[in-house]
């Protein structure tokens, strides 16, 4: 039941948004909600409001681009700053949904990871999709995606993201594809067949999830014994005392962005907000609140070793990691999602 709460929250929010639109001087910042948003409030929203005396109206969504596109098309943009994943950003940038950024108003480009600087989006953290398991229900620890597929050794349900992205990649790795070659294989027809065939093996044992908050709940309640999950959400559950563990082998990492929809009304405040987000001090606070890696190189150097070891950017964690291939998903996303839907509905 909890897993569906986010959908309901979203509906409540949608109703709320209608009334919020009127507040002019405030800055509306939309994120993905949950523990991630709480960390953003502490690390970015609060310092920003303190400094500029501009209040922030918080909102959350699940990354659907339709609402933003409709706002931009109707020239009635009520969202000022939006958190966006990288394929959506790339698409939105080309199609005129997001503004081209003026980096002179944000900070020195050299202070940041190269992958964080995009034409229309400012990358502010590095996150990862990992294999997580409940150490209370599994006596032997799984170590890789092959173990995720091993129903004999690890009986029980598995959680996976309901979609092609971050599902097909794992299937291929479980089938023995090297991390570096995942997208090359997935780019071929035979590779796609191979991934779906591998998924067939565990299909009846998969519990699909949609919102990032679900996997820790499913794991904690014992509904699934292991799951793909966002590393930050698992860490938050660990802090609440849940005995959940992360396997970093074959994780997929990506940068998350803030972007401004074309026709944003609070442009000045929005840029000030991005500058606040880019500051090393604030990013340090963010990474200690939720273990997502900072994009500011100076912040990376300041983070204590214990915290740094839990980040996707830690060398040990990044060793067998796959960088999510944005252009691959921009290109093949729709086709593979359609194929995935057809497969899942059967």
């Amino acid at each position: 039941m909890k897993q569906k709460q986010s959908t309901m929250k979203l509906l409540a929010l949608a109703a709320g948004m209608l009334t919020i639109g009127a507040a002019q001087a405030d800055l509306t910042v939309i994120s993905f909600g949950g523990t991630n948003q709480k960390a953003q409030v502490k690390a970015f929203y609060e310092p920003f409001t303190k400094e500029t005396r501009i209040a922030i109206v918080q909102g959350e969504y699940n990354g659907e681009q339709a609402k933003i596109k409709a706002m931009v098309d109707a020239r009635n943009v009520t969202w000022d700053v939006v958190e966006v994943e990288s394929p959506e950003l790339a698409r939105g940038c080309e199609e005129g949904v997001y503004e081209k950024l003026d980096y002179s108003r944000i900070g020195n480009k050299k202070d940041f990871l190269d992958s964080a600087i995009r034409e229309c989006g400012f990358g502010f953290f590095v996150w990862s999709t990992v294999l997580a398991y409940n150490a209370d229900s599994l006596k032997v620890a799984p170590t890789s995606w092959s173990d995720f597929w091993d129903l004999k050794k690890f009986p029980g349900k598995r959680g996976m993201r309901k979609g092609a992205k971050f599902t097909l990649e794992f299937a291929l790795m479980a089938d023995g594809v090297k991390p570096a070659e995942v997208y090359k294989v997935l780019g071929t027809k035979a590779g796609v067949e191979r991934a779906f065939k591998k998924l067939d093996q565990i299909k009846p044992h998969i519990q699909w999830w949609e919102a990032g908050a679900q996997p820790p709940q499913l794991l904690a309640s014992g509904d699934v014994v292991m799951s793909s999950a966002y590393n930050g959400r698992i860490a938050a559950a660990q802090q609440e005392g849940r005995n959940l563990k992360i396997v970093w082998t074959g994780n997929i990492y990506d940068v998350e962005f803030f972007a401004l929809p074309v026709g944003v009304t609070q442009r000045d405040a929005a840029y000030k907000f991005l500058a606040t987000v880019g500051k090393a001090d604030n990013q340090k606070v963010y990474s200690s609140e939720i273990p997502y890696g900072p994009t500011n190189l100076k912040a990376m150097a300041q983070i204590p070793a214990a915290v740094a070891a839990e980040l996707p950017t830690a060398p040990a964690n990044a060793k067998t990691a796959v960088a999510s291939n944005t252009s691959f998903w921009v290109e093949h996303g729709e086709d593979l999602e359609q194929r995935f839907n057809a497969w899942a509905a059967r």
Partner: protein, 422 residues
């Protein structure tokens, strides 16, 4: 006033006017019609603006295809007389280079590239990368230059796809909504089974709606009968039990069902503590959970029309039948039941049509195997922002519902007209 005068006033102008009575009557009728028309005009206008026009605009989206003609006008002009059998001539290549150079980095090109990528994954980058590398150096031949950038420009399929999208309207989305597509030569063919989904989804939508309707009849009929036959004090109280859930938000009721039905939920725990089952039953996130919640939510739509019809059936009919020697069950079946058919028909149609568009209940209580057509409309609207596809699916759903409605009307409508109690 004399009787004669009154008679003349009533019959209108007497014989001295030339207009025959028929014309006068027609004129009076016309005036009356105009008056009625003026009275309903505001509502008709309102419906037109808020209902018919948006639906029309939505349906138009499923055939609109402006992206490619906007981005590649010169190329399409060069391809106008092309037979699509062999690669086009030099002028088409030159026109394409001109179009791409002109629209380099523009939104127009990105949207056109996205549109073509829907049909053939890989076309987005083909267009975007090619445009990025243009203009060609002076003196370089257009065909050779393009082939140098990407060998796909030398493939027939690439050009067929551009030509196919050359008009402002397309049947691509509507065909895709029933698992069909056009191949390179323009023939309609069946989609690959691994990517076929929508025919199954529509069949599933109908099937699930049918099951829900049948259950609503089975459960709703006795309740409506009870309501209609009890004294008003009792029936009012019972009516509150029907209406209270009816007035509660659907989301609240769905959430409540999740609480009740889940593995550690009230129903499973109760059954286990009573010793009826050992292992919790899987009652939610599958077909059973969706059926339970949908039947619960839609029951009032069956009960209320049935109740209003049953309320109008006088008990004397039944008494008369029994007093004439008809056995109780037979008299019920032969006399009472036929008179409730209009209620059953109205309730059944309501429940069935509402079920066809159900979205939130299967989305929250079902697995991917329970999703109905609306889920995919939402998917294409929100997640992939492919509004053409969303509109096409809606159009197919609307059409199927209308056809069904007419068939239903034929079958039930003729049956009910004879059985109307009043």
């Amino acid at each position: 006033m004399s009787a004669k005068a009154i008679g003349e006033a009533v019959s209108g102008a007497p014989s001295e006017t030339a207009t025959p009575l028929k014309t006068q009557l027609r004129r009076a009728e016309r005036l009356k019609k105009l008056k009625y028309g003026a009275l309903i005009a505001p509502l008709a206008l309102f419906l037109l603006l808020t209902f018919l026009w948006p639906i029309g605009a939505l349906l138009m989206r499923s055939i609109e295809n402006p992206e490619v003609p906007e981005a590649l006008p010169q190329t399409l002009r060069a391809l106008a007389g092309w037979d699509r059998q062999a690669l086009p001539g030099e002028d088409a290549y030159a026109a394409l280079v001109a179009d791409l150079t002109e629209n380099k980095g523009s939104r127009t090109l990105a949207v056109a590239a996205k549109r073509m990528n829907m049909e053939e994954p890989g076309f987005r980058s083909l267009f975007m990368n090619t445009a990025r590398k243009l203009p060609l150096e002076p003196g370089v031949d257009a065909r050779e230059g393009l082939l140098e950038i990407d060998s796909q420009w030398g493939e027939l399929g690439t050009w067929q796809l551009i030509a196919r999208n050359g008009r402002a309207y397309t049947d691509y989305f509507l065909l895709a909504a029933v698992d069909l597509y056009r191949d390179g030569a323009g023939n309609i063919v069946q989609a690959d089974p691994s990517a076929s989904i929508f025919v199954d989804i529509f069949v599933r939508t109908f099937w699930m709606s049918l099951i829900v309707t049948v259950w609503c009849v089975v459960l709703g009929y006795p309740v409506a009968y009870l309501l209609a036959t009890q004294s008003s004090r009792v029936s009012n109280l019972l009516m509150i039990f029907v209406l209270l859930p009816f007035w509660t938000s659907i989301l609240v009721r769905v959430a409540a069902w999740i609480v009740l039905l889940q593995q550690g939920g009230l129903i499973n725990m109760g059954l286990i503590s009573l010793g009826i089952i050992d292992q919790p039953l899987q009652l939610v996130f599958n077909r059973i959970g969706v059926y339970i919640a949908m039947v619960h939510i839609l029951l009032p739509f069956m009960i209320l029309p049935l109740y209003s019809v049953m309320k109008g059936i006088s008990p004397t009919y039944l008494r008369a039948a029994v007093s004439l020697g008809c056995p109780p069950f037979k008299s019920y079946w032969k006399v009472y039941f036929p008179m409730t058919i209009p209620g059953l028909a109205a309730g059944g149609l309501l429940v069935f049509i509402i079920s066809m568009g159900y979205y939130i209940t299967p989305a929250l209580l079902g697995s991917p195997k329970e999703q109905m057509a609306s889920y995919f409309v939402a998917f294409y609207t929100n997640e992939t922002t492919n509004w053409g596809m969303a509109a096409a699916l809606s159009a197919v759903l609307l059409l199927a519902t209308l056809i069904l409605y007419f068939v239903y009307n034929r079958l039930v409508g003729s049956a009910t007209s004879g059985a109307r109690p009043r």
